[in-house]
């Protein structure tokens, strides 16, 4: 279970998040939504420990970065918004490096990986260099890389952009699988209609603060919009901000 308590943070001189608190329970999928610049990616960077909080704390299964760095990090797998890869490593070497870093049992991990590679039709490309792949395929590499671990918390930043419809479908299935296995999933997205299929709850960020959270029905009620028209929430919120 991930617990974010009164997190205030941002970049060195730029405070972005103000007093953000939320939880992601075991077996729960939570969508982190908000307009560009609302603080979604900053929240993720804090959870990963790439940024240090100004105040507040982040606890994952009773561990935090200070008590046990390695244990904390190994419980998290991350799919970044833009794929970042090593120009000089093949697909196979990327996966091998991840196994080393997570100290995975390589036989077991390769079983997982092979299944995922087949699913995303990457199984014939193990000796290729992923930097030369298309953006969508690189995204798939990052997904395989994260989903083959047995991390307790999966963090997925904007997973659906750039993926073909089949891959979107597969990714949703994989998320459902993790959920059934009792893992927590935190994903940021703009595509609410797609995320709705798997997300149990949404957290709506606005200007670095939590504006609202709850299920689709609860959010729809709060903003007075129809459930099938969830994107209207953004318009409502923009009006509140005085932008539209």
């Amino acid at each position: 279970m991930l617990k974010v308590e009164n997190l205030t943070g941002g970049y060195q001189h730029l405070k972005i998040l103000g007093d953000v608190s939320f939880e992601v329970h075991d077996g729960e999928v939570v969508g982190l939504i908000g307009l560009n610049g609302a603080g979604k990616s900053t929240t993720i960077k804090h959870i990963l420990g790439l940024l240090q909080p100004i105040s507040g704390q982040i606890v994952l299964n009773d561990q935090n970065l200070q008590t046990n760095l390695t244990r904390y990090r190994q419980q998290i797998a991350f799919v970044p918004e833009t794929p970042i890869l090593y120009p000089e490593l093949t697909l196979k070497e990327h996966l091998a490096l991840t196994m080393m870093a997570y100290q995975l049992d390589s036989q077991l991990a390769w079983q997982n990986a092979n299944r995922l590679l087949k699913l995303f039709r990457l199984d014939q490309m193990l000796d290729w260099f992923p930097v030369h792949f298309s953006k969508g395929m690189q995204q798939k590499v990052m997904i395989v890389n994260a989903f083959m671990t047995d991390a307790d918390l999966l963090i997925i930043d904007e997973p659906f952009t750039g993926l073909d419809p089949l891959a979107v479908h597969n990714l949703l299935d994989l998320i459902a699988e993790k959920k059934a296995a009792g893992k927590s999933v935190l994903m940021t997205t703009h595509v609410l209609a797609t995320a709705q299929a798997q997300a149990d709850r949404f957290i709506l960020l606005n200007h670095g603060q939590i504006r609202a959270q709850g299920t689709v029905a609860e959010l729809a009620e709060q903003f007075g919009v129809a459930e099938q028209d969830l994107d209207q929430i953004y318009l409502q919120m923009a009006k509140e901000n005085g932008d539209a």
Partner: protein, 411 residues
């Protein structure tokens, strides 16, 4: 790479391989000939100056301290971190300490070499111009090497999440001790300086592991630092060979528009229009030209021996022209230019016209320097005329031949 601990060694090997690849281009370049001449001239000048020192000079210790302090600032921590590390290596952060300690040790080699070389070069000067004994001087160099070790420890600490204020304090403490220590040692207190820096190094090495333990590595910061370091090196290599990812920049340089006019001429000529702008606004060609001009002027100012001077001036003018040849092919990759309704004869003529002006400007600059340096000796007239003759030969004979050969090669 089988184990995680091999990561550093694998990276280091790849890095060294790549550096050697680029260095081959650097040393094959004609500019190296110029640099060797320059070094030779400087060494000659230095030995002449040394001979003229007969008693100690009051400013010599201060100059020595300043040079050593500058030498100390050379060399940064090379971590070889890559952008993808902040995703793939995140779960292995605790193992990164070992990696970084390897990196620090590796980063130490080059600066230590530079400092030893600097010490060696300064030794005859120090022994003649200051009151230092050889033991005191060796102790100073020893202390300096130890301080470099400390400096790299500080750079390593900076990658971790320490409060900015604490880092600033450490940094100013370090440079304070370095400055004070060097000033002490050039006045004969080298032993104190050595003991001070040795104490600092031992203190830091003992504390470093304890200091690092509870701190998080600042991945983004560390990676962007390494990126900046790499970019500086790659920019340098890019002067000699195309480095992927480094594009030589193009600047408008409005204030140089008169030069563009001068090179392009009044007539409406497509290729003179293109060549002149590529030369002035791009950095690759004008940089070559500028470096040869500058190094040439420095050499002319230093060397008074007319025959050597003649050879150098002729050589430099030829090398400038030779190195600028790629400008002719600069637009060949542009589909639009290849479709232009211009014959290759016209292109060649335009190129030769632009080159004529470029080389004549360099000749003019060199001539001025020679007149000032040789002050009306009849040798200066000979060198200036010989240089002009060489330029004419290059433009009228060599260049048309070269470009024609290329033409044949295409067909």
């Amino acid at each position: 790479m089988r184990k995680f601990d091999d990561l550093w060694h694998t990276r280091q090997q790849k890095h060294l391989l790549q550096q050697s690849k680029y260095l081959r281009y650097v040393f094959n370049d004609h500019l190296m000939i110029a640099v060797i001449f320059l070094f030779g001239a400087l060494a000659y000048w230095y030995s002449q100056q040394l001979r003229s020192i007969s008693h100690t000079l009051w400013w010599a210790p201060l100059l020595t301290a300043l040079l050593l302090l500058l030498g100390l600032s050379i060399g940064h921590l090379a971590t070889l971190l890559k952008p993808a590390d902040q995703i793939f290596l995140l779960p292995a952060e605790s193992k990164m300490r070992r990696y970084l300690i390897h990196a620090r040790r590796y980063s130490l080699l080059l600066p230590l070499f530079v400092l030893v070389a600097l010490g060696g070069i300064l030794t005859p000067f120090v022994l003649r111009a200051t009151a230092l004994t050889i033991t005191e001087w060796l102790l100073t160099i020893f202390g300096l090497l130890i301080l470099k070790d400390v400096h790299l420890w500080l750079q390593l600490l900076r990658l971790f999440d320490f409060p900015v204020r604490q880092q600033r304090q450490l940094n100013s403490l370090f440079w304070g001790i370095a400055t004070a220590g060097l000033l002490l040692s050039v006045y004969g207190w080298g032993w104190l300086f050595s003991i001070l820096s040795l104490g600092l190094a031992i203190l830091l090495a003992a504390q470093a592991k304890k200091l690092l333990q509870p701190q998080c590595l600042m991945w983004r910061e560390a990676i962007s630092r390494e990126n900046r370091r790499q970019t500086v090196i790659d920019r340098f290599y890019n002067l000699f060979v195309d480095v992927p990812g480094i594009s030589s920049s193009v600047h408008r340089r409005k204030w140089l528009d008169p030069l563009v006019q001068l090179l392009a001429g009044k007539s409406e000529n497509t290729y003179r229009f293109l060549f002149s702008r590529a030369f002035v606004r791009g950095s690759e060609y004008s940089n070559i030209w500028l470096r040869f001009c500058l190094v040439g002027v420095i050499l002319i100012a230093v060397i008074k021996q007319p025959v050597i001077l003649l050879i150098i001036v002729l050589l430099f003018l030829f090398l400038t022209g030779y190195q600028l040849l790629p400008l002719y092919y600069h637009f060949d990759h542009n589909a639009l230019t290849t479709l232009l309704p211009v014959t290759s004869q016209a292109k060649q003529a335009a190129f030769i016209k632009v080159m004529t002006r470029v080389l004549l400007i360099e000749w003019f600059v060199d001539s001025l320097a020679i007149m000032l340096s040789l002050l009306g000796q009849w040798w200066s007239i000979i060198i200036i005329l010989a240089a002009l003759a060489l330029i004419m030969l290059f433009l009228k004979v060599y260049l048309p031949l070269r470009l024609k050969q290329h033409q044949k090669g295409i067909k």
